[in-house]
């Protein structure tokens, strides 16, 4: 089976602003992919490129084995729900379905109808009069009834209350189970994604910081707490992602394929939220990673020197 999305050195520049840089990804099929990152990280840019609404400045991308929006056939295979799940305020629920049927060759009218009934939406109601949760469900219904192989959703639950959020994700997961659809959805909150995603991409400051199957990522990452030491004092098979030191304690976030060997430290798995936040912190402040003791010692040495100089002056 072809990859959901394959990107090589993908980049997008708006004037002088680099919105996406050096983005290389290969997402295997059959996944629900979570794209996480702070606001302004480039999530929307990546998703818009993936569905063909934006043309990249550099690099290459294939979605389901074809260039995005290369042909009407490719467009029919990808469904896209833009940020805040937009609908047409002056059109009724039924109009939305009619619209969908006219514009999409693979439209599944039965599925759309069943879903509207299940959601208890009045077909005559104008979309502008629906609640936020209902509007999001309507947008999802239209996208799902198009019968895409890949559904791309940009921050679909960001503006919903917790109950509507849960309802939306249920509906989405049901569609995935029913139609074997692959999904890419973005969010700035990990908690929205951890139940539903089995593949994770962390995007910070226009760069991909981390990508992989959620289960593997969770198995590979540990938090190590020990007496203060340099990261070079840890076994070489541990890749230090982030380090924090107090005057006597060191905390390392490490990645290792083979697990953490026993030693004079305590090691525990990270949960998804800690994992993502660590990579976000690192991505937002690349100059600080990992803060080695050597750097600190230099600072301290300089401080001592400065103190000495003052002493001499006296």
């Amino acid at each position: 089976m072809t990859a959901i999305l394959q990107a090589q050195s993908l980049g997008k520049r708006y004037g002088r602003r680099q919105a996406l840089a050096e983005c290389t990804l290969e997402i295997p099929p059959g996944h629900v992919v979570g794209l996480v990152g702070p606001n302004g990280a480039g999530k929307t840019t990546l998703l818009k490129i993936a569905c063909g609404m934006l043309v990249p400045t550099t690099g290459r991308i294939e979605v389901l084995g074809e260039q995005p929006a290369a042909s009407p056939a490719q467009l029919a295979r990808v469904g896209y729900v833009a940020q805040d799940t937009p609908t047409y305020a002056n059109l009724s629920v039924a109009d939305h379905l009619k619209f969908g049927a006219k514009l999409n060759p693979r439209w599944d009218a039965k599925l759309a109808q069943a879903r509207i009934e299940q959601l208890d939406l009045d077909p005559k109601q104008k979309a502008g009069k629906l609640s936020g949760g209902q509007r999001a469900q309507l947008a999802l219904t239209v996208a799902v009834a198009k019968r895409p192989e890949l559904l791309i959703l940009d921050e679909p639950v960001a503006s919903l209350d917790p109950l509507a959020r849960r309802g939306f994700l249920r509906h989405l997961m049901e569609s995935v189970a029913e139609n074997d659809t692959s999904v890419i959805l973005s969010s700035h909150l990990v908690s929205d994604l951890e139940r539903v995603c089995d593949y994770l991409i962390v995007l910070v400051s226009s760069r991909v910081q981390l990508a992989g199957e959620t289960e593997d990522l969770l198995a590979q990452h540990h938090r190590i707490v020990c007496t203060r030491r340099k990261d070079t004092d840890l076994p070489p098979e541990l890749e230090v992602i982030w380090a924090e030191h107090t005057d006597r304690q060191s905390t390392f976030f490490v990645r290792s394929e083979s697990g953490v060997p026993a030693g004079d430290w305590s090691a525990e798995h990270l949960d998804l939220e800690d994992l993502v936040l660590t990579y976000m912190e690192r991505g937002a402040d690349p100059g600080r990673r990992p803060k080695t003791q050597t750097a600190r010692e230099t600072e301290e040495a300089q401080a001592v020197q400065a103190a000495d100089t003052t002493g001499d002056a006296r």
């Binding site: 629900v32 249920r170 189970a177 139940r195």
Partner: protein, 129 residues
Amino acid sequence: MIEFHLDTRSGVAPYLQIVGQVRQALLLGLLSEGDKLPTVKEVVAKVAINPNTVSKAYRELEHAGLAAAKPGVGTFIIRSLGQASLAEHGPLQQELRAWLAKARAAGLTEPGIEALFSRTFRESAEEEK
């Protein structure tokens, strides 16, 4: 039919939570031989989790010889773990009691015992994987 729930703060992998809930339901007699488990679609429409998680849990149950999939029909329980099986583990329970007495004698309080148990439990489950 039983329903599943998910605790995202427990640190236990979601698919293992489902496996655990089926085992528990078997032990409690909520499920027995011949009962049908909810379909993947039914579970995800209720719990809002990834369908692969449910499939993986069901495969694990099949692997453990507790359930079997009938293609196109669903997944069924093929073995009962009624009250009898808890009684069968009497000697194990005795040992656990003895261990608990030792832990208290060593000065461990209840939260301490719980923390020690769940940590050891998790570590040993991971080693066995």
